[in-house]
Each structure stands twice: as C-alpha cells, then as structure tokens.
Amino acid sequence: MSARTRTRAEARSGAGRIAHFSWLGPLALVFYAFLYFPIVVLIAYSFNDSRFAMIWQGFSLKWYATVLENGDIQTASLNSLVVATTATAISVSIATVAALALARGGAFRGKTLSMGLIALPIVVPEIVTAVATLMFFSAIGLSLGLGNLIIAHTVFCIPFAFMPIRARLQGMDETLEQAAADLYASRWEAFRLVTLPLLAPGIFAGAVLAFVISLDDFIISLMISDAGTTTLPVYIFSMIRRGVTPEVNAVSTILFSVSLILVSIYWMASRRKKDEA
C-alpha cells in the first residue's frame, strides 16, 4: 500500500485538513458559475434594446413596458395566481390533516401504503400524469375551465405541502400536548392552542412550496389548459415558439424574481424552524 511509504511530514500536513483536494475550490466555483450563468444571461438580455434577443444593442426597459401592456400576459398571470392560490389552500388543508394522522396516528396497517400514495404525484413522470389527467377529464367529460387546472394542481401540490408539515411534526415535542391534556384541555383546545401554533411554521413552509410548484408548473398545465385558461408558463412557451424575443426574457425575469422572493421566504421560515427546534 502506497500510504505506508509516505513520510511523517506528508501525513501531518494531510491530517490538519483531512482529505483536502486543491482542485475542489476551483471546481465549486465553476459549478456555481454554471448554475448562474444562464440566469444572468437571461436577465441581462431582458434589458437589451435590440429586437433580436441574441444581439446586444444597449440598455432599455422597453420590453418590461411591452410586457406590462400585454393583455394576454395579464390574463395568463391572473389565471396562474387564481390556480396557485386555490390549489395551495386545498392541498395544504389536505396535507395537514394527513400529516397529523400519519405522525400522530401511531403504527398502523397501511401506513407505508399511505405514504406511498401521497408520494405518487412526485414519483410518476410529469408528462405521464399530464396525459393521464387529460384522458381522464375527457373520459368523464369534465370541463370546468380553471377548475380542471385547480384539480390537477391540487393533486401534485399535496406531497410538496405534506413534506415540511410532517418534518415539523416529527421534530415537535409531544409532551406539550400531553401537558395540555393533563390540564383538562379538550382534544380540540389542545390542538388549537398548542399543536397548531407550534405547527404553523411547517404549514407556512408547505404553503409556500406548494404555491411555487403550482406557479411554475408547465407540462401538466400545457396538456390540461385550453385557449381560455392559459397559465403564465404555458403562455411563455407559446411566445418562445413564435420566436426568441427580449419580451420573453422580460416576462421570464419577472417570473424568476417572484420565485426567488418566495423561495427566500420559504428558506427563512424553514431556518427559523431549525433554530427553534
């Protein structure tokens, strides 16, 4: 073994910084550059004066003005917001009671199966869910406009809302609830006054996650939506198909900013959760 032939000095220099490789830093730098390069390019070109997205001609805010004046974008954004808000509200409610049952329900037959069922929307490829839902809606003749989208979004939001809520429940101290029960609090009072306030950061994190996932969803929305129920990502896709213009960059930058703000809020909420625990 080559290690045995090494000198003591070599070993000592290695022991201070265990398993250190000098190329790790540069590699990490390249990694982060790769991660952010497309995003920087996207944002930079949204301020491009040229009509052609790929030629830089000078700084301009005119594409943001175009986006703000575009009625179709406004309608699509409104659709996205309505769908995301409704799907978030429904999926968070469903996920909260399901998480309570699974975290506080003890061991029972069918627990693994329940977890699997809740994870199903994450496991199945999105394109498969999309066409399956499309065929299902068509087979039962369901056409509720935005309602169809809300149903489809609620389904895949449930596991995303479920995860942070369950994680929070697992980290929570059950003795507080027991103490409330010892002090003659009814089951409902114990839940409302003790469990729910403690669980709130988890529910909030789940809601933000579900909202971002719904707002960003493209493939399922593309298959389910029709002319009147276009969401923002679906509209962006139709813009890209018509040609690459800085207007696409501008609306993409706006969508990116919204996601960034929401993810930052989620991050802070989950950080606080860790600090308290």
């Binding site: 265990i18 995003i39 869910t129």
Partner: protein, 301 residues
C-alpha cells in the same frame, strides 16, 4: 405510542380520507384509464374505439408494409435508447461533478455551508421552462457561445458552432436542470458523516484518495443512490429540454408522448409510450429500493 395524544383509528382514517380521495380519484384512476386506453384502437378522427387491441404496443416495434405484413421498425426503439442514454449520461455527469462539490460544501464552516446550499436551491425552484429557454439564448445561432468565436475570427461573421438542436444541447439542458437534485442528497448524507472516521484513516497514514474511496464513499452511498434516482427518473421523462434544445427531430420518450397527444392525436399509442415510460421509472425505483437496502446492510457492522 401514548394514549393521550394518539389518534384513534376512526379519526385517523377520517383525516386520511381527503388525501386518499383526491390522489385516488384524480391520479390513480387516470393512470388506470391510461393503461386501458393503451389497449384500445385509435379513432383517426380523435379519441378511441373501445375495442381491445395491442396495436399500440405493436406499433412501438413494428410497422405494416404495403402488403400489410409486420416489419420490424427500430424508430421508436431508437427514441427509447436515446432517452435512456441521455438520462444515464446526465446522471453520470451529475455524480462526477456533484460529489466533489458536495464534499467541498460540507467542509466549509456552517454559515458558509448554509449560504452555499441556498444558492443551489434557487435555480432548482425557478421555472424549468425559463431555465431551458436561457440555454436557447446561449447555444443558439449568434448566441452567447457563438459571439466570442465570431469576434476572434474563429467563425464566419454569420457562422455558428451549431450547438443548439443537438443531443449535446439536450444533455446540457438535462444536466443543468437536475444537477441540484444530485448535490443536495449527497450533501445531506455527507453532513451526517462522522468525520472522526476520516481523521482516523488519515492518522493511520491512509492516502486521501484511499480514504475517499474506502471510507467516505461507502458511507455516502445512500445519498449518491438517492441523487442518481432523483436525476435519472425525471430526466428520462423530461419533455422541456428535448423540445426546446433538441428540436423537432430528436424525440425522447417524454416529447414523443407529448407529440402523440398534441399533434398526432394517436391516444392509444401515446398512452402506450407513457406506460412504457412508467414501467422504466418503476423498474429504476425498484432497483433503488434494492440498492439502498444493500447499502444499509453494508453500513452495519
């Protein structure tokens, strides 16, 4: 479980009913309908005839010649092969880059670590479509990649490296999209690692490559396996990267399914391809479960 806060069986099932109902009715039943439709006959005017038929699966492997005989047709197998190869290559690149990066992050002080992890999650939560579109601008004719080559005179003034609409472009898109899904689970498993083991190896004069291979890698195996599955499964069914970066000619399973529903309007065939895709995904997941059990057993003394 104590009796005070534990739910009784009736309440438990009542609380689980909404989740069961929504996912059961709007996910499980649609998947069953999809399987059923894949065994029906296509109605060329849209929709299906409710007659049992294996035509859709036959079409995946054979086509009829002028005499009506079945002739082997590799076109769809090539699409399947392309999807598996691209998803596999993306997974391999992600592991190769993701593991050292995760190792780098885990060795930083906690505050820096948190920031570095947060920086990885940001692109991950931004719109998939927008991220793939950014690569269209970068790789496209006269885009960010072409420009410096043109300026240096290495390309004609209107020349292009021709990167967009190639398999390479799809691979870049897939790698870019799913790289965070590799780094995060590997980081999570490295974070739990007992660093005294690494120090011990180092104290016993183990060379650092030996330490990585014999000590760190086996202990991080669950994270690597989870990362591989989190990259491979969605990459296999991805539709956005092939559609935007691969162009019309380079179909993958995901874009083939979408094409059958949006353009060709052959539902049974589209459903059959979706079922094939689903079978591949389930097979990968079954493999994942076996591998993690094995890794867990290997980790025991």
């Amino acid at each position: 479980m104590n009796g005070v806060t534990a739910m009784d069986a009736r309440r438990r099932w009542l609380a689980l009913t909404p989740a069961y109902l929504v996912i059961g009715v709007f996910m499980v039943i649609p998947l069953m309908i999809m399987v059923a439709i894949s065994f029906m006959e296509q109605n060329v005017y849209g929709g299906v005839f409710r007659v049992f038929s294996t035509d859709a699966y036959t079409q995946f492997l054979f086509q009829r010649d002028f005499d009506g005989n079945l002739v082997f047709n590799p076109a769809y197998l090539i699409i399947l092969g392309r999807s598996v190869l691209l998803a596999g290559a993306a997974t391999l690149i992600c592991v190769t880059v993701g593991f050292p990066v995760a190792w780098f992050i885990v060795r930083q002080p906690p505050r820096v670590r948190n920031i570095l992890v947060f920086l990885i999650t940001i692109p991950f939560w931004t719109n998939l479509l927008v991220r793939a579109y950014a690569w269209v601008i970068i790789l496209g004719r006269g885009g960010v990649i072409d420009s410096p080559f043109r300026a240096l005179g290495l390309l004609e003034p209107d020349g292009t490296l021709g990167l967009l609409y190639t398999n390479t472009a799809i691979l870049i898109g897939l790698t870019y999209t799913y790289l965070p899904l590799m780094v995060l689970p590997i980081y999570a498993s490295l974070e739990k690692l007992d660093f005294r083991l690494v120090e011990a190896a180092s104290d016993l004069y183990a060379d650092k490559w030996w330490t990585m291979r014999q000590v760190v890698l086996p202990l991080a195996a669950p994270g690597v396996i989870a990362g591989a599955i989190l990259v491979f499964v969605p990459a296999l069914g991805d539709f956005i990267s092939p559609n935007l970066l691969g162009g019309a000619k380079r179909l993958t399973l995901g874009s083939l399914v979408q094409f059958q529903f949006a353009t060709a309007r052959n539902w049974p065939f589209g459903a059959a391809v979706a079922v094939i895709l689903l079978v591949f995904v389930m097979a990968s997941l079954a493999l994942y479960v076996r591998l993690t059990r094995k890794a867990a057993r290997a980790g025991e003394p």
